[in-house]
Symmetry: C2
């Protein structure tokens, strides 16, 4: 196990009716707020009404900023920053999924920064401060509600980049499983794939003896495998939604990654796909991840796949090592398929034309693509080729 | 899953050399501090020197308060409060195991309270504020380094009582696995039993569908089973000490208990034993826990034991339900024995004479003894009888 600092400061209000915590939180922390939303689903399903009731109850003046899209755009972030600066807002309340939260975090950091917020994504500059961010989560997927990361797309440049800082970790998040009831089957499934992939990115690691982290990671994967099909088929199952929602937050709040070297190659590749083609992140991951697994499997990495196969999929211990590993990867592919997620690039109408460009771009945008196995541009092209 | 608020604010500095974080933390938070220690082991093994070097480096004036005993006494807490008030101290730094930390927390809360700190333990009064507490942990066991609980014994009354409040949750804790190298085999083993029992108290619950919490709890138990014997036999194994240390903190920092009804009957019974006989908490638990398991096992509770047997001990799924449950309990007993922990009250020279008194006292001191199965005084006597 490596050294680490554990500092997960987000207060989570989890369960039915927890929107009631918004009022007291805002009274404590905010004078005038920006409420950020997406394309309108929170207005149709009643979540926005719950939030506004609480905000009004707390007598906190607010300005609404709606229309954040999936793969949130830099230009929306710029717009939000402009409003915050002009109106002297001191708090950002994100009501939505990961895209709305990521945009809110970038707005919060950009408002307190003199330069262009894009510097944080491209120049390695770290924000010194940010407006505090609160979230009301409506989709189990990114874990953004409990971590200090944000991913933004600059459309004109075809670049989807991330940065992380403790100053943008939300101060509180409301996780009411019922707020995820109206997410459709496709986005629910994409969320489950995203959660599982976050776990894989931290689980598949060369760090030895991080058993605490790895046994918890396996536990969270088993929760996804048990409840993933249930939330897809029975979207109003409270217990299934609750388990997927809480697993999603714990999958990427640092808990299972701290003390370990992490991988993140599948995300590096997928970010290029969704930057160029604007596909759903979960769909991209569903295509890439099992092929990444097959590509990195070797005598050197097989032991981690054996743990995965036995502890997550319950495979028989006494089989041949490579057989356990391959069977575990096949089970992963079959599970994503069962959720209705795509297996190949052709399923989402992506051809071979930009493979080289995307691979070069991934290598340029990430300090290193992959740690469990370091990938060069040619490796990324190979993985994309097996994904056709 | 039940509603919960997750707010685990302690910053953990985990790993080799993390005592270096003490200086910056004190500069940020303290003007003049109380350093609380136990019976002298931290002075013999060099931990105290590391701490003092950092404290002096931060130029924070300090007063030392040593001599806290296992099952820490109310009179020591009173003494510490007197020093803090007289010297106008504003921070308590605990250097030791659970007893030192628990005493420090009670001192921290008592210093800011006009009445007698014992009120918090007996009258249900909650502290409004406390001095901030930091810890340098030297024993993996109680989890006190990351939670808001304290357990204190009032010797003249033979009472060992607890209270919990967010205001006494440590603001930071230093977890350097090497600081646990010199813990002897007996106390190392007792710590492992304590950690496992904390997990059991939260795991064995009537709350349904808290899979996230339960799969993580099982993972932590598996870490204890893998590394418990290693830390006993090979006390300087960094990886084994690291895993047990981190598992101990996560076992009782709220993570695996929130969203669930918890049990705590074994602790209610053991607190009476160690209040009356001053035995080691872990030894008392080793005797009680498997007998508590046997006593509460029934057709109504068997499913939880099946999860425990299969997911923690890897038992064969296809056996008879009750057989899996009994086998899992036998494995628990055998594991505690393997660690060198006692199986029966006679092993620690405790006779039958105070069974009734202890049972009555447990029922008096706890709002309810047991939630997985509610225990009356007569049930506690029965469990004690099977422990002879």
């Amino acid at each position: 196990m490596l050294n680490f600092t554990h500092n997960i400061s987000t207060v989570i209000y989890f369960g039915r009716g927890q929107a009631a915590a918004i009022g007291p939180e805002l009274r404590k922390r905010a004078k005038k707020i920006l409420i950020v939303t997406g394309s309108g689903s929170v207005k149709r399903n009643g979540v926005f009404d719950d939030v506004i009731k609480e905000v009004k109850g707390s007598k906190t003046p607010f300005i609404e900023f709606s229309g954040i899209k999936p793969n949130p755009r830099l230009k929306s972030v710029h717009k939000g920053i402009e409003i915050c600066k002009k109106e002297k807002l001191d708090f950002v309340l994100a009501v939505g999924g990961g895209s709305v939260i990521d945009a809110s975090k970038a707005i919060a950091a950009g408002t307190k920064y003199k330069g262009d917020v894009w510097d944080f994504f491209t120049k390695g500059i770290k924000p010194v401060e940010a407006l505090p961010v609160g979230t009301v989560l409506t989709l189990a997927a990114t874990g953004s509600e409990m971590n200090g990361n944000t991913v933004i797309t600059r459309e004109d440049a075809g670049r989807k980049l991330a940065f992380g800082s403790p100053v943008i970790r939300p101060v509180f998040s409301i996780l009411d499983p019922r707020y995820t009831y109206t997410v459709n089957k496709y986005h629910t499934a994409a969320g489950v794939v995203d959660i599982m992939t976050h776990i894989f990115e931290q689980y598949f690691s060369r760090t030895e003896a991080a058993d605490v982290q790895d046994r918890m990671a396996e536990g969270l994967l088993r929760v996804c495998i048990k409840y993933g099909p249930v939330v897809c088929e029975n979207p109003r199952s409270y217990n299934a939604r609750a388990n997927i929602l809480w697993a999603g937050s714990l999958a990427l709040n640092d808990l299972i990654g701290e003390g370990k070297e992490e991988d993140w190659a599948s995300h590096a590749i997928e970010h290029e796909l969704s930057a160029v083609y604007d596909i759903s992140h979960g769909a991209g991951l569903s295509i890439i991840v099992p092929n990444w697994m097959r590509y990195v499997l070797s005598e050197k990495t097989v032991n981690k796949f054996i743990d995965y196969g036995i502890n997550v999929w319950g495979l028989e211990k006494n089989m041949d090592k490579m057989k356990i590993a391959r069977e575990a990867i096949n089970k992963t592919r079959a599970f994503f398929n069962l959720l209705g997620m795509p297996s190949s690039l052709s399923d989402v109408n992506i051809g071979v034309e930009h493979f080289k460009k995307m691979a070069d771009s991934a290598v340029r945008d990430w300090p290193r693509v992959g740690h469990f196995k370091n990938l060069l541009a040619k490796d990324i092209v190979e993985i994309l080729k097996t994904s056709i």
